[in-house]
């Protein structure tokens, strides 16, 4: 008897009830933290290689800050509109959520278009990823962030279909919360990109 008590004390013998999706948000947060490590590696690579121009063009020749400022504004607006979508979700208004999600998608698409416009100009000017270590690490870091935004947009489109078909079910709310974390996380990464890549590149 005494042994059984001890066992029960040290080992969790009771089966707990695990509500559906109860650990999704924590799990998604852990995913974001591992994603953060990927970006840390890319930032470190850029930090080490960012000064090796191989006699090619440097940040001062290539970066256009007004364009970057516009891009930053687009991503910040999209974070704000996603926040409005979350508030509508809290109020249980599916139409409001859909409206603000569409606005978020438009700002996200604007961000991507501006980024692709910038990339195409760089490549047209001969500043391709193969040109120097600086450009390789630049395209890898900024391109990985852009790829994340692209997948965020695909996810957003999928959720709009889900919302139209099933409304604000518990599962859909959970998915919206995960995408909310993902989207705001990308905005946090962008703070690092515009500060350490673009602004400090001009100062270099």
């Amino acid at each position: 008897m005494r042994n059984a008590n001890l066992t029960a004390h040290y080992y969790d013998l009771d089966e707990h009830d695990h509500p559906e999706g109860g650990s999704t948000l924590l799990g998604f947060w852990l995913y974001l933290m591992s994603d953060c490590l990927i970006f840390a590696m890319l930032f470190a690579a850029y930090g080490v290689l960012g000064g090796n121009y191989a006699a090619g063009p440097g940040p001062r020749d290539l970066f256009e800050l007004p364009l970057v400022a516009l891009n930053t504004a687009m991503l910040l607006f999209s974070s704000m509109t996603y926040g409005f979508a979350m508030i509508e979700m809290q109020r249980g208004r599916v139409g409001g959520v859909q409206g603000w999600l569409v606005a978020t998608a438009l700002f996200g698409a604007a961000f991507l278009s501006i980024e692709l416009y910038e990339f195409s100009h760089l490549i047209a000017d001969g500043a391709t990823p193969q040109r120097s270590a600086f450009l390789s690490s630049f395209f890898t870091l900024v391109g990985t962030h852009g790829l994340h935004v692209t997948f965020g947009l695909v996810w957003l489109g999928t959720l709009l279909v889900q919302l139209a078909q099933h409304g604000l079910t518990e599962a859909n709310k959970r998915r919206l919360l995960c995408l909310s974390m993902f989207w705001h996380f990308l905005d946090v990464i962008w703070i690092g990109v515009f500060t350490f890549v673009y602004l400090m590149g001009i100062l270099r």
Partner: protein, 116 residues
């Protein structure tokens, strides 16, 4: 049974508004500093804009990601602290080691054909 959504943050318009306007200010000032070149010293400007970036990351974490030390029984925060430590080691270690390696390298011309 406890509510499975106890850890879902409460979204308030005030939080988002505060975060948004703080972010606008914290973004605009670094861009202005670099584009106008108000501070003559580049190193000083770099330090100031790095400071603004750190503050803005905090603003986003608190007002947009609703980060606090208690959500999910503290596990969110613990994972964040662990990540920040690893990121700090990766960044400072890479830059430190590679900077010294660069200093110890023999100066080389950009064009390998110019080698003696």
């Amino acid at each position: 049974m406890s509510n499975s959504h106890a850890d879902v943050p409460h979204f308030s318009l005030t939080d988002y508004r505060t975060g948004f306007f703080a972010s606008v200010v914290l973004t605009a000032i670094p861009f202005w500093l670099v584009m106008s070149g108000v501070l003559a010293n580049n190193t000083l400007t770099a330090l100031v804009i790095a400071g603004f970036a750190v503050v803005q990351v905090f603003v986003h974490m608190i007002y947009f990601l609703h980060m606090n030390t208690k959500s999910e029984g503290g596990w969110n925060f613990l994972a964040l602290v662990f990540t920040v430590i690893v990121v700090g080691i990766v960044l400072s270690g890479s830059l430190w080691v590679m900077h010294h390696l660069n200093q110890n390298m023999m100066p080389m011309p950009h064009n390998m054909n110019e080698l003696p």
